[in-house]
Amino acid sequence: MLSSIPTDWIWGLIGGMLIGLGGAVYLLANGRIMGASGIIGGLVDRSGWSTGAERLVFLAGVFALPILLTPLVGAVDTHVTDNWPVIIAAGLLVGIGTRLANGCTSGHGVCGISRLSLRGMVATVFYIMAGGLTVIVFRHILGVI
């Protein structure tokens, strides 16, 4: 069992490098910042409709590659909770929060920190602290998640 722990870290590093490579392609080829919440949000609130095709094709790639890879690599269990009120609250918070902050884990985290953006670093500190506090309260104190 011990040997399975470092394997997760290695896959994390490999997967992370592919994520960064995707961001590098999107930046160097199309001149865009790879922020998932901005790409989706611009389609939702119509602010990004002028670049809508590019956004949709990007999201199609995000959605499709795991489908193509599953027969080769194996299925991933997402362990998403079946507590619907929790899922709905979480989705609303993620949707409103990322648009208010203009970025999420990919935009502020990956693309922001790598360009030494103060905004990216501050956002990342706050969403990790809020996430940590939420897990402490809802898992260890309330026992909901």
Binding site: D8, G12, I14, G15, G16, M17, L18, I19, G22, G23, A24, V25, L27, L28, A29, N30, G31, R32, A36, S37, I40, R55, F58, G61, V62, L65, P66, I67, A75, V76, T78, V80, T81, W84, I88, A90, G91, L93, V94, G95, I96, G97, T98, R99, A101, T105, V110, S114, R115, S117, R119, V122, T124, A130, G132, L133, T134, V135, H140, I145
Partner: protein
């Protein structure tokens, strides 16, 4: 070409999210759970992603994007209420479900009904976000 590049970028992003384990909500919540069985995988994913992205930023000055246009200008280094409040709200939702926007889309085909509901709620949140921002800014101007 723009669309082909966009599909390649999205495909790499989706592949990375899938292989890294970041679509498994227990790994994300495990990273946030410092008082439980702490799982450092997310740090490896972040570190791995920041490396190629940092190289990409170093290549930007004096060049133009392959498909034309211009590179995005650096954002003003303003740290306002919307950045902090938005990040806190996002972090709370991220902790509750263990999902953020990228992995939510990547796992849409295998995340079951819960994953679909999360994405629908996230889209609803994104739809009302401009009004939330407007209300906040008119109540207490920030940034």
């Amino acid at each position: 070409m723009r669309l082909i590049y966009a599909f390649i970028a999205g495909g790499l992003f989706g592949t990375g999210l899938y292989l890294s384990g970041m679509t498994d909500t227990t790994k994300v919540q495990g990273w946030l759970d410092i008082f439980g069985n702490w799982d450092p995988t997310l740090a490896f994913v972040m570190g791995g992603a920041i490396l190629p992205m940092a190289v990409a930023w170093l290549l930007v000055p004096g060049r133009k994007p392959l498909a034309g246009g211009t590179f995005p200008t650096p954002p003003e280094p303003k740290l306002g209420r919307n950045l902090v409040l938005g990040s806190v709200l996002f972090g709370a939702g991220w902790g509750l479900a263990g999902l953020c926007p990228g992995p939510a889309i990547a796992s849409l085909s295998y995340g079951g009904v819960g994953g679909v509901i999360f994405v629908l709620a996230m889209i609803a949140g994104m739809a009302v976000a401009p009004r939330v921002r407007q209300t906040l800014d008119s109540a207490v101007p920030a940034e």
